[in-house]
């Protein structure tokens, strides 16, 4: 376990009682968590190898309470780590012992659905899926669909600019959010954007999306809701090799076809997911694509015919269309449970680099070689249409050597993505996990510009300060 945390501020730890006493009048009694047992529930997120029990946990019930807590922490020099549902895979919500956690879980209401304008105003703690559930009866949905969508919150999605399987067609969070209400570290409440398609001035909304809790705390959002397609149909394509599957993806896009999703699984991932979800995945192939098309039945037939023609040119061995809503659900259940299903077999870490799709075959091959050389099993399951890779590197958590080696390999794979022309993270965020690799992708000048922008919002580095930027050389 090699990722360092900043040394806790002893002066803050020594003043804990005083700080808790100052926070208490700012919140309803049940919204301030101070006991060790209860605080421990917040010690980590989905990047579970690292844990720190926070000073306290505040669960405010309004924007005004968030403002009050932040203003107090600003005056007192107390660090604040924002938390949605705690599903971050990069450690974005992991606390520090000298920080309070500010959880948005009690801000969980859908405030207004505006069908004529095709927008919804929601509080930051609502889950991703509940937005879609609140508009689906009218034929609408909220597009970004991270695998954790049952649990993850819109506030966390905005913080990380989350993606999902269907963003090939519908875009990621930043393309689907029109406004946020946020609170700055000094307690100032800001509205960025709103219900119109754009806002005056600099695109501060675009800056906030994906800022990983470094610039402020989001309490509300206005999101676009989109009309659902008439129907959707996923099709499984089995290939002997990952190279053939990768080349097929490039040919489909090159032919001017943008399916709503193109998901890739290698042999290991297929076996793991099929054992879990019984989705009818072909077990005797080397790689599989789930390609989903949308529209009316004749439109889907026509588009699939073109895709199948292309797949045949790449030696596709198995083509299996979903024949029912149940089969469709099973196919997606298998894909979306890939992480959970892998977790039943072994401990794993999941990487999230993106590469140009033309480099997929090469990067997959090197991934296999690097993992094999170090004696780790690896399963690859990812969004092929946009090159966002997700190698799951398996290890034994009870063996410190195995864990350290997996972590090391993960970082090597991310460097491989950058070397191939891509980036460290496509949708999970930098968090603590990739923080110390930032200089591999960015120059010192690049990072300094980002940090100067950060300092406009939080010059004292109180907001989620252990994350995103390397600990040394900050300004």
């Amino acid at each position: 376990m090699s990722i360092p945390f900043p040394l806790p501020d002893d002066a803050i730890l020594a003043r804990r009682d005083e700080i808790l006493a100052g926070l208490a009048p700012l919140l309803p009694p049940e919204a301030l968590i101070t006991s060790e047992d209860e605080r421990r529930a917040f010690e980590t997120d989905a990047f579970t190898a690292y844990r720190r029990v926070p000073l306290a946990v505040a669960l405010p019930t309004s924007t005004e309470e968030v403002s009050g807590v932040l203003r107090f922490c600003h005056e007192q020099g107390v660090k604040v780590v924002a938390r949605g549902a705690g599903t971050s895979l990069s450690g974005g919500a992991i606390p520090q012992t000298d920080a309070i956690v500010l959880g948005l879980s009690k801000l969980n209401r859908i405030l207004d659905v505006n069908f004529p304008n095709r927008t919804a105003r929601v509080q930051a703690g609502v889950t991703n899926l509940s937005i879609t559930e609140s508009v689906s009866a009218e034929g609408f949905f909220y597009a970004p669909d991270p695998s954790s969508q049952l649990a993850c919150t819109i506030g966390g999605n905005i913080g990380m600019n989350s993606g999902g399987a269907h963003c090939l067609k519908y875009g990621v969070t930043t393309n689907n959010v029109l406004g946020v209400r946020m609170v700055q570290m000094d307690g100032t409440i800001l509205d960025l954007g709103g219900e119109a398609m754009d806002a005056p001035g600099l695109d501060l909304l675009g800056l906030m999306v994906g800022s990983e809790g470094q610039l402020g705390i989001i309490t509300e959002a206005v999101v676009r809701i989109l009309p659902m397609a008439e129907d959707a149909r996923p099709v499984l394509f089995g290939f002997d090799t990952s190279e053939e599957a990768g080349a097929c993806v490039a040919s489909i896009i090159g032919a001017g076809i943008i399916p709503v999703a193109m998901e890739f699984m290698d042999k290991e991932a297929i076996a793991i997911c099929e054992a879990f979800a019984k989705a009818g995945y072909p077990l005797d192939v080397g790689a599989m694509l789930i390609i989903e098309v949308e529209g009316s039945a004749p439109e889907m037939d026509a588009q699939l015919a073109k895709i199948i023609d292309i797949a045949k040119q790449h030696n596709v061995r198995v083509v299996r269309e979903s024949k029912s809503a149940m089969e469709t659900a099973a196919i997606w259940k298998g894909r979306k449970s890939a992480f959970g299903a892998t977790g039943l077999l072994a401990d794993y870490i999941c990487m999230d680099g993106t590469v140009p799709t033309g480099q997929l075959s090469y990067v997959l091959k090197r991934t296999g070689e690097i993992c094999a050389a170090a004696g780790h099993r690896v399963a690859n399951v990812f969004h092929a249409g946009d090159g966002n890779m997700h190698p799951l590197i398996m290890f034994d958590v009870n063996d410190p050597k195995s864990a350290a080696s997996a972590e090391h390999i993960g970082l090597e794979l991310l460097k491989l993505c950058v070397d191939a022309g891509g980036c460290l993270t496509g949708e999970h965020g930098v968090g603590i996990e990739k923080r110390d690799l930032m200089r591999y992708q960015f120059t010192e000048d690049d990072l300094r510009q980002q940090m100067r922008v950060r300092a406009v919002f939080d010059p004292q580095w109180l907001l989620n300060p252990a994350k995103v930027f390397p600990l040394d050389g900050r300004e």
Partner: protein, 401 residues
Amino acid sequence: MNVTTLIERLEPQSEQEACEIVKQARLDRWTLAIEGGGTRAGLGRPVQADAVLSTRRLSGITLYEPAELVMSARAGTPLSEVEAALAAKGQMLAFEPADYRALYGTQGEPTIGAVAACNLSGPRRIQTGAARDALIGVRLINGEAQAIKSGGRVMKNVTGLDLVKLTCGAHGTLGLLTQVTFKLLPRPLAQATLILDGLDDARAIAAMGSALSSPFEVSGAAHLPTGHDGAGAQTLLRLERDEVSLAYRAQKLVERLAPFGAVRRVDDEASAALWRDIAQVKPLTKAHGPAIWKLSLPAHRAQACMQAISENLGARYFYDWGGGLVWLAVMPGEDAGALRIRAAVTEAQGHATLMRASDEIRTKVDVFAPLGAALMKVTSGIKHSFDPDGIFNPGRMYAGV
């Protein structure tokens, strides 16, 4: 300020040369007005600068991978060159980059860098996103003469703060863009426009809302209260598909729109011409006198807002983006109607940009909607973080920024 009175015109041929120029400007305390093709010089507050920094010689497509739907070009590359290269491979910039030569009465070639710097999107914004959604990477020279990058060439990238978004729509106030990278989409094989005649504004917005709430992926929704040719109100709805899908969806959409009246259909080039005119604001630019505003507002409040404005001002206007965008022409007068227009638009929870007016009016009237104190503080802070000496496009967006 008249460009010809400027003392110098600088045309770097490389990013490195541009860095040297900025370094020197910093030492000499010069300010720089950034210029691409010069076709939108009338957009924004008039800039008073010591020299023009032109991207004209920073030209050429540097990367184009059709199978990856991605293209990079140096900032001064003519938009026409980019669009021709993409069209040759059946692809496009999906947000329909706006060409405002008719609006400003200018010649010359708009550049790809200015499309990014001004975040200018056309009718398809309603369906495929704005320029800011398609821009995935930039290289930029900041006010400390550092060449920095943000984003990259891959579709999904959440590494670090998204400075790409900040630079998109900053109108060159944060630095000089030297290279921009956009994601692309395949060019649809066919298109058709369905036309409803004679609807009033409220019915038209309802009709556009119905179409945009359908599963048929309407890629343009505009309403011309006095019609394209002055003949009468027209509501236009665009579909862009392959032939099979287009036939099916046009039929379904006609059925859906039945409560709004009879539907006419025009295809292919005739349809494309209609949307080209809308993208270029042609319905309002035939006369050169009026001041022109761009209003961005929630679609469901647009009609009431326009009613309030029309009652007070002899205004001509049309809607795009299903009612979420209004182009408005008014007699220039003292302030181009700013007071009344901004009051009505603020009431509707939108904002108004003065797109065309004399330098005199644009110096006196806020071109971009004024920001509250807290937002202005952040905006000034960000400007300072990129350009501490205020070298680039001083005052282009806001006085002092």
